[in-house]
């Protein structure tokens, strides 16, 4: 029996090739993502572990802001002297390292990395752990001298002797590059500038007496943990965070981890799509192979093979396919990881490909996914194979499974579909975000399953309509292609399902993102009253000089500054809510239209007052006049009076809640180290916005980190950010389509083989090659469009329900991107044409005599 299985596997290897490709793709994405993230974490673990000081002393991070604030937390530089008193300390230095600065070259462009990674400035110390080495020039001495990292110097063509402008929070200063330093380990992708430690504190932090951390080296024989205990004892206070080299590496890796997680999840998303779509492909291939071999299987049964043997024979074939596919997939995964590592290099993160890490988990996962998927997908066809009666050997059997009733599918699909619809209805009717999102997820999964299960039932009615015009348009060729698509609803359904899954996802996401864009547009129209906003694309805070420069520009009437700070607010109901709050300068009413439920801007921005969302206030028992304890970073505490309640439906979102804001003066009093996040600018009376814009842009030329935007530009900025999400979905769609095309190719190729005699007959009685190709193309198109229509229909329902969830978060507009939907339908027809290319060619080259040759 095993020999028969092997023979059959080898005999059908051509027909299994496309299924194998689906397995290869999914395994490649799984293996590639694992290898890539293992490699990156290993590289950075090593980097951080080798570069961190034995013990690092930093200011306590009590409040973390979900939005960048531009504030730098510092410690007194004199802390070093106290640290040195501890026993077991060999050396200690006051380090300065600032993340959020802008360095501008003489062409007034930022030298920062193109990928949005930060530019860091710090003090230049040469230690044995230093990850960089001076490769040319000399170390910086005194003010006005700096080192630049070699990668940035090469990218921006900066040479020794060139001037740079450094915009730090305390002020902008000019330096001359006196040396180039190269990373001896992996450059994590940021741009770096180093200054003389003697001036770094003053230039970057505004005070020579401040530092960002104290790095402590242990004396020989003292462990990091011992040193940490002793330094803590010597400091005698818990106002600082102390970390050993190991802890420091872990926390740095954790920061990096979120970025890596994104890549990992994206890759796993691709793998998931590949697996999901691949399953359909494999099920379909095996079903067709078994249908074609009905007589052969019947013969086996007639000769005495029992059902288990037949089933096992098919499953063994699946196993062989899975193992072969997984092995190739693993190899492809290594290639994919290599490509990703190269790609990271293009973004400035120089990972060494030679240090690629393939943990034991990678092959295990690869084979588990590959073999598991194939096995599961082949199980149903295997059962069907086992059910073939010995009589099938004798009968001139038609293709199995064609005429079988789809009753079981109708019932299962109906039940799951009703449950899914109920979940989606519940989602649309829900009034709280959390249950609505959960119901949405449940509804999406259930309706997807229902559509896949009941897909074959929808084949007849939908394709009757879709292909209805075919006979009129293409004559008998059209009629035959439409009927061929209807011929085996299970097969057509399963083939289209692959495309359907991808397009349902895209349909849903595009409705959700279009609705988000529309909602933000509406919100911007309603609230933004300023002629211009000045800020940057990623909402990174910028130096206060920008505000001064804008204010000094001729024709500027009003500049309202916005700053963000993390706060923790104690509420009357006992809750402590940690969020980000905004501070606005005077004149807010001139640049924004804020609807107040109680009070107004004057009361909101008054010293010692704040405003919050009326709904949030009601939920937590806050009223105007309530006095709330508010914690600011660095241990600053205040008691602020609620001066106004807003009614803006913008309370929640992006990690903030409560919509809390106060006057800029209040913010600066308790969180003095921040930078501006945005400026709202109005033209002065008598100056048109049109004439002001070029003047503003000219004045801001030395500050490449900020851009001037009017309302239209601002909307575009928001759209672009939503679009990033969509691009990811499009990439997923691309993959799904590639595999779906494979599926359609697969089905058509096998159908063509099955219909050899029919095609030969058609050719004999006078069907031209071109007509034959058209017939197969039309069949392919109608299958693909069927998948698209089903997918988009499902996606639209999902999208509308997702919008209901977004509406609970204040994004109330519903927009359906009809343009995208029409484009996707047309695109799916193109997909059908592409998928039909090879099968059609093959059919048209088939021997005419095949039909009439006697068996």
């Amino acid at each position: 029996m095993l020999r028969a299985t092997l023979r059959s596997f080898l005999a059908h290897k051509g027909r299994l090739a496309l299924s194998a490709l689906a397995v290869v793709l999914s395994v490649a994405f799984v293996a590639g993502s694992l290898i890539f993230s293992d490699t990156v974490s290993r590289t950075f673990d090593r980097l951080f572990a080798s570069t961190a000081a034995d013990v690092t002393v930093e200011a306590k991070q009590d409040l973390r802001s979900p939005v960048p604030t531009g504030a730098v937390q510092t410690v007194p530089a004199a802390l070093r002297d106290r640290v040195l008193k501890a026993r077991g300390v060999a050396a200690a230095r006051a380090d300065v390292s600032v993340r959020n600065i802008v360095v501008v070259d003489r062409h007034q462009t930022s030298v920062g990395p193109p990928n949005g990674a930060p530019t860091l400035a710090g003090s230049w110390y040469v230690t044995r752990r230093s990850p960089v080495r001076l490769t040319s020039g000399h170390a910086p001495h005194g003010a006005g001298e700096a080192l630049l990292d070699a990668d940035t110097a090469a990218r921006k063509h900066v040479r020794i002797g060139d001037p740079l402008t450094v915009q730090a929070r305390p002020g902008t200063f000019r330096v001359r590059v006196v040396g180039i330093a190269a990373f001896t380990t992996t450059n994590p992708g940021s741009a770096r500038v180093w200054l003389d430690p003697a001036v770094a504190g003053r230039e970057l932090l505004g005070s020579a007496a401040r530092a960002t951390s104290i790095s402590v080296d242990a004396a020989p024989g003292v462990s990091d943990a011992q040193l940490k205990r002793r330094v803590r004892a010597a400091l005698g206070t818990s106002a600082y965070d102390l970390r050993t080299a190991g802890e420091q590496a872990k926390s740095a890796a954790a920061d990096l981890g979120t970025f890596l997680d994104v890549i990992k999840y994206v890759m796993l998303g691709f793998a998931g799509i590949a697996v999901l779509v691949g399953v359909f492909l494999i099920v379909n291939t095996f079903s067709m192979l078994i249908a074609q071999r009905t007589r052969e299987l019947g013969l086996l049964r007639a000769l005495g093979a029992d059902r288990r043997q037949v089933r096992r024979s098919v499953l063994t074939e699946a196993l062989l396919l899975g193992v072969a596919g997984s092995t190739l997939g693993l190899a492809a995964g290594i290639g994919l990881a290599l490509g990703l590592i190269r790609l990271m290099g293009a973004f400035g993160m120089n990972l060494k490909a030679t240090e690629m890490v393939i943990g034991w988990g990678t092959p295990v996962a690869a084979y588990a996914v590959g073999v598991g998927v194939t096995f599961v997908a082949a199980y149903l066809p295997a059962r069907r194979a086992a059910a073939v009666s010995p009589m099938a050997a004798l009968a001139d059997a038609e293709v199995a499974g064609v005429g079988k009733p789809l009753k079981a599918r109708a019932i299962a699909g109906g039940v799951v579909g009703v449950a899914g619809a109920a979940a989606l209805a519940g989602c649309a009717a829900a009034s709280k975000t959390a249950p609505a999102a959960a119901l949405l997820g449940l509804g999406v999964v259930l309706t997807l399953i229902a559509t896949v299960v009941a897909g074959p039932l929808l084949v007849r009615p939908v394709i009757r309509v879709l292909g209805g015009a075919f006979p009129a348009l293409f004559g008998s060729v059209g009629r035959m292609s439409q009927r061929n698509a209807l011929r085996n609803p299970r097969r057509t359904g399963a083939t289209a399902a692959a495309l359907m899954v991808g397009l349902a996802l895209v349909g849903g996401m595009s409705v959700a993102s279009a609705s988000m864009s529309a909602s933000f547009d509406r919100r911007i129209d309603r609230t933004l009253g300023a002629d211009f906003t000045v800020q940057n694309a990623n909402f990174t805070p910028f130096t206060p000089e920008v505000a001064r420069t804008v204010a000094a520009t001729r024709g500027v009437g009003l500049v309202v500054r916005q700053r963000i700070t993390p706060v923790a607010v104690g509420l009357p109901d006992g809750r402590r809510v940690q969020t980000a709050a905004a501070g606005y300068g005077p004149g807010l009413d001139e640049v924004a239209h804020i609807t107040y439920a109680r009070g107004g801007s004057a009361a909101a921005l008054a010293a010692g007052h704040l405003a919050m969302d009326a709904g949030f206030a009601a939920d937590h028992g806050v009223r105007t006049g309530s006095v709330l304890p508010v914690e600011f970073p660095g241990g600053h505490r205040a008691r602020l009076t609620v001066g106004a309640l807003t009614d803006m439906d913008t309370g929640e979102g992006f990690g903030t809640q409560g919509g809390i804001f106060f006057g800029l003066a209040t913010l600066e009093r308790y969180a003095p180290d921040g930078q501006d996040s945005a400026l709202y600018v109005n033209a002065a009376d008598g100056t048109g916005a049109k004439e002001l814009r070029p003047r503003l842009e000219r004045a801001l030329r030395p500050y490449p980190q900020v851009q001037v935007r009017d309302q239209g530009d601002y909307k575009k900025l928001v759209h672009d950010q939503i679009a990033v999400l969509l691009y990811l979905v499009y990439a997923l769609l691309g993959l799904a389509i590639v595999i779906a095309v494979l599926g359609v190719v697969n089905t058509l190729a096998l159908s063509v083989v099955e219909r050899t005699r029919e095609i030969g007959l058609l050719r004999a009685i006078g069907l031209g090659r071109r007509q034959l190709r058209r017939m197969i193309r039309l069949e392919s198109v109608v299958i693909a469009v069927f998948g698209a229509v089903l997918g988009l229909g499902l996606g639209l329902v999902w999208g509308v329900c997702a919008q209901r969830v977004l509406a609970l978060r204040g994004l109330t507009a519903l927009a359906i991107p009809w343009g995208t939907i029409v484009a996707v339908v047309i695109g799916s027809a193109v997909v059908g044409i592409v998928a039909a290319l090879l099968p059609a060619l093959r059919a048209s080259r088939m021997n005419v005599l095949a039909a009439i040759a006697h068996e």
């Binding site: 038609e398 004559g475 008998s476 060729v477 009629r479 035959m480 009927r483 061929n484 209807l486 011929r487 005699r757 029919e758 007959l761 058609l762 050719r763 004999a764 009685i765 006078g766 069907l767 031209g768 090659r769 007509q771 005419v848 005599l849 039909a851 009439i852 006697h854």
Partner: protein, 270 residues
């Protein structure tokens, strides 16, 4: 070039001309030493308006002869004409149009497209050509073959005999110059087979069609006007106004000759 049979110019009906003819028709499979001659320099004329049967044992080349005459298969050497058109050397597209417009086909099995109903199958060659069938002629053919109440049925809903009648109607409806029937009764019981043969006979007698039928059944061959006997790729004999008995006798005689020559025993069935 010449075979003994060629001197008799078999199948020639002096008054009606030829519907198809071949000269030196050779078909070889494979090449070099392993080449097998399926047709060995055959000269044949198919008389217009007559019912010609081609008989021969398995492997005698009778199907190959039909395929070559119908432009389904390429020839290795020699020339073939359909009417006045030389079809050897035509491109695939031209051959396809020729088959569509000027030839009708009936095969042993798998004669119909399963997704199309009987009416659609009958008009298929004309639909492909984008021509409308002559409705009166279509009606006549359908009624003659007794398919009136079967027109909307799919092939799977028709009996074997009905399927062959539909194939017969398809071959007739475009009024082709020549109908090729390859073992049209091979899969039918004797009653249905007789029915189909009767229709083919009628097509020749009443409608003036030209029919070439390949068969190994002497009973079927007996319905023809002329039987051509093929053996080892050559036309070895012919018989006018055959009966089942005379055809069977002749076949037996060939087998006896072949047996004596040590070519193997009689093989009559495919």
């Amino acid at each position: 070039m010449s075979t003994p049979a060629a001197e008799h110019a078999p199948g020639r009906a002096p008054d009606a001309g030829t519907a198809a003819r071949a000269r030196g028709l050779t078909k070889a499979y494979g090449s070099g030493e392993t080449a097998v001659l399926a047709l060995d320099s055959v000269d044949v004329d198919i008389a217009r308006g007559r019912f010609t049967a081609v008989m021969g044992p398995s492997g005698s080349g009778k199907s190959t002869l039909m395929h070559c005459l119908a432009g389904l298969d390429s020839v290795s050497a020699g020339r073939v004409w359909l009417g006045d058109t030389e079809i050897t050397g035509l491109k695939d597209g031209e051959l396809t149009r020729l088959r569509r417009d000027r030839i009708g086909f009936m095969f042993q099995s798998f004669n119909l497209i399963p997704t199309l109903n009987a009416a659609e199958n009958i008009t298929l060659p004309m639909d492909i050509a984008g021509r409308r069938p002559d409705p009166r002629w279509l009606d006549q053919v359908v009624d003659t073959l007794g398919l009136r109440d079967r027109l909307t049925h799919r092939p799977a809903q028709l009996s074997g005999g009905q399927q062959q009648r539909v194939a017969c109607a398809r071959a007739l409806v475009s009024r082709p110059e020549l109908i090729f029937a390859d073992e049209p009764t091979g899969n039918l019981d004797s009653r249905a087979g007789l029915e189909v043969l009767g229709f083919l006979r009628g097509a020749v007698d009443d409608l003036g069609q030209t029919v070439v039928m390949v068969t190994h059944d002497p009973g079927a061959a007996a319905h023809s006007d002329l039987v051509l006997f093929l053996a080892d790729g050559r036309i070895v004999d012919e018989m006018e106004r055959p009966t089942a008995e005379t055809v069977l006798e002749r076949m037996k005689a060939f087998d006896a000759v072949r047996g004596r020559l040590g070519d193997g025993g009689p093989v009559l069935e495919d």
